[in-house]
């Protein structure tokens, strides 16, 4: 049985040490044996629980209030997307992708289209590349804002939730004016986008990019130096860089542990190497660092958005490739060849040559891998999604071991999981 003494900060009247940092103290007064030789207790969190961010169920084995063992049970949202994909055309899979991570749908749309384009050897147009970069960075902010609001509410700060959701509402409106949908965007197509950006969209985005930092500053005023926030987050759920790599963690969770692994720098796609931004890296790998990393990542994403808007080139948004792109509506109505072409692309679907591709992008949660295998037909032999949340969550049992029950909520929130993608 564990004899770990749980160090936990009592924050009701925070005391500062000589170095200015709050003093941590053990839960039990000194002299009392921390190990309780009682029966272990089993506790369920979820599947219907607001703090599990979806239908996640954690079964905890507790000794008093200390977690001895945590077993996540997943699959409650399993919708068999990968199997469904094998019965869909290449383009028909796109609506499935944004239902996986409904917190950052455009990243999933783009990642899937990019994987298929890579397999087919299609190079999208310059304008399309920049538009997709804008989409992906916008949704990174979109997802981080939700994470920030819900994590704050899990820990007990309600105001932040209202502020971030007000900002998310503006991104929803941007989604809506571009794609017609607020969550299930389905914005990409193989070889381009469903449509070009509408008139005035960039100026709305400009307005958003200019005003978001104010909200972020306000949130930081509330949280970053707040003793309650620090007490609930600092030194909680520590995972070292080596462990995090071994558990396959990626994204902000890995970077908070001090490993500068960011696909936008390590395996750049869409000219990310030409954008000027920093990879945000933490030091301690605790919940507080994960918070700081995500806060700074939003600011870096704003920088990228700024540069992308400045360089957005004119020109066509779709590639000029009859294998994948439909002819214009006027041509399809007026010209026999175009009509036949339109008919064939719609009825038979895009045909991908035999081959395979494993392509990954840096999503808001981590490395999002899309693996597509084709046998030359219009449907995939296999479509696999490497969901970052799925693998990040598998490290949760290790991270919560020996912590208090209340820290499980903090640690689980700090991982930023989305169950739609874990269960697929």
């Amino acid at each position: 049985m564990s004899t770990k003494t749980v160090e936990y900060l009592v924050t009701r009247t925070p005391e500062l040490g000589a170095d200015g940092r709050p003093i941590t103290m053990p839960v039990l007064p000194p002299g009392i044996e921390p190990e309780m030789h009682g029966e272990h207790m089993l506790i369920n969190i979820g599947p219907q629980h607001p703090a599990t961010h979806g239908v996640l169920r954690l079964v905890l084995e507790l000794d008093g209030e200390t977690v001895i063992k945590c077993t996540p049970h997943i699959g409650y949202l399993h919708s068999s997307f990968e199997k469904l994909g094998e019965f869909r055309n290449w383009n028909q899979i796109i609506p499935l992708t944004d239902r996986m991570d409904y917190l950052a749908p455009l990243i999933y749309n783009c990642a899937y289209a990019m994987a298929v384009e890579k397999m087919m050897g299609i190079e999208v147009t310059e304008r399309c590349k920049v538009v997709r970069v804008i989409c992906m960075e916008l949704d990174r902010i979109f997802s981080h804002l939700l994470w920030l609001g819900t994590t704050a509410i899990d820990i007990g700060a309600f105001t932040v939730f209202l502020w971030t959701f007000q900002e998310r509402e503006r991104i929803y409106s941007l989604h809506e004016s571009f794609t017609g949908a607020r969550i299930t965007t389905s914005a990409t197509r193989i070889g381009g986008m469903m449509a070009d950006l509408p008139t005035g969209w960039i100026s709305s985005l400009r307005n958003f990019v200019d005003t978001l930092p104010k909200t972020l500053d306000e949130v930081e005023t509330l949280l970053t130096h707040n003793n309650l926030w620090i007490g609930r987050n600092k030194d909680v759920g520590i995972i070292s860089g080596a462990d995090a790599i071994n558990y396959g963690m990626t994204g902000p969770n890995l970077r908070a542990s001090g490993v500068a692994y960011d696909l936008r720098k390590d395996r750049p796609y869409y000219d990310y190497e030409t954008y000027d931004f920093d990879v945000v890296v933490g030091e301690h790998g605790d919940c507080y660092d994960r918070y700081l990393v995500r806060m700074e990542e939003m600011r870096q994403s704003l920088l990228i958005l700024d540069q992308a808007m400045a360089r957005l080139p004119d020109g066509p948004i779709n590639v000029d490739d009859p294998r994948v792109i439909l002819p214009g509506k006027y041509d399809a109505m007026a010209d026999m060849e175009s009509m036949i072409h339109h008919f064939k692309v719609v009825m038979q679907g895009v045909k991908a040559p035999a081959g395979e591709s494993w392509f990954s992008v840096e999503s808001s949660k981590g490395e999002l891998g899309m693996y597509v295998v084709s046998d030359g037909g219009s449907k995939p032999v296999r479509w696999r999604v490497r969901g970052p949340s799925f693998i990040n969550l598998s490290a949760l049992p290790k991270m919560v071991e020996g912590h208090l029950l209340s820290d499980v909520i903090t640690i689980n929130a700090s991982l930023d999981i989305v169950l739609g993608e874990i269960d697929r």
Partner: protein
């Protein structure tokens, strides 16, 4: 249960698709081995155990290895200082259908050398087994469970090989196999009946039931021999602990409440 379709479905579950003679999975053309630094090193170290090397989609290097030495080769790739593939990004399988062997796929990334490599090994339908790599990378734990759940590949040496996305007592087989119909093997009525007849114990692992104090007789729908034996041993050691409502008595109220309600908290 006497449903004809149901029986047919079950027999299909046993046999699987008919195996074609000599069928092979597509492998791609052989590529220049010097174009990826790990491939010549692998060839020098393992020789003929490296069956094939190919490149997909321009820059994706794939090597094929035999199942019997796959763990040894992957362990070397993870540990050798010149390779150091320390991040197992993905582990999954591909079923090409038609009775062809399944491919198990390991997507690796080296954070030190900033290189990626894909390793594939094939397992035939008759013998869906390969070595687990959990003791090399912890991330393989859930990925192997998912591959087992979806394809039925048995990973030898995995510490806790259970279904992960489907329920533990799911009886229709492995969904991502090509011989699995899109809507499942059983009829809608049978699927609903099974969903409604789930017991509380079905939602817990044997270990959890043990901690929660459920009796060993109804511990699992599909009893796990080792866990049941261990649970029995545990109960012998603590005879005063009642297991269910039947042997509840007022004198043991405190522990009865803890034991009886433990599994349903």
């Amino acid at each position: 249960m006497a449903d004809k379709n149901f029986d047919e479905a079950l027999s299909g579950l046993e046999t699987g698709a008919a195996e074609e003679q000599g069928a092979e999975t597509p492998r791609g053309e052989a590529a220049d081995e010097a174009s990826h630094p790990s491939v010549p090193a692998l060839r020098a170290r393992f020789g003929d155990a490296i069956l094939h090397h190919t490149v997909f989609s321009g820059d994706e290097h794939v090597i094929y290895v035999g199942t019997e030495r796959s763990k040894e080769i992957l362990g070397w790739l993870a540990a050798d200082p010149a390779q150091r593939y320390d991040l197992l990004v993905d582990l999954t399988a591909v079923d090409y259908g038609g009775g062809r062997p399944l491919e198990v796929l390991y997507q690796l990334w080296s954070t030190t050398h900033k290189r990626q490599l894909r390793v594939k090994s094939t397992v035939v339908l008759k013998d869906l087994e390969t070595d687990s790599v959990v003791d090399i990378w912890n991330s393989a734990d859930w990925l192997e469970r998912e591959t087992f759940d979806m394809f039925g590949i048995n990973f030898r040496g995995h510490p806790d090989l259970r279904r992960i996305l489907m329920p533990d007592n799911y009886a229709e087989g492995h969904p991502l196999r090509k011989d699995f119909p899109l809507r499942g093997r059983f009829s809608r009525a049978e699927q609903t009946r099974r969903a409604l007849s789930m017991q509380v114990e079905d939602y817990y692992t044997p270990d959890e039931l043990h901690v929660g104090g459920a009796s060993s007789s109804n511990a699992t729908a599909q009893p796990n021999a080792a866990a049941t034996a261990e649970a029995a041993r545990h109960h012998e050691g603590t005879p005063s602990r009642p297991n269910n409502a039947e042997n509840w008595s007022p004198g043991t109220e405190g522990s009865a409440a803890a034991a009886g309600s433990g599994a349903t908290v």
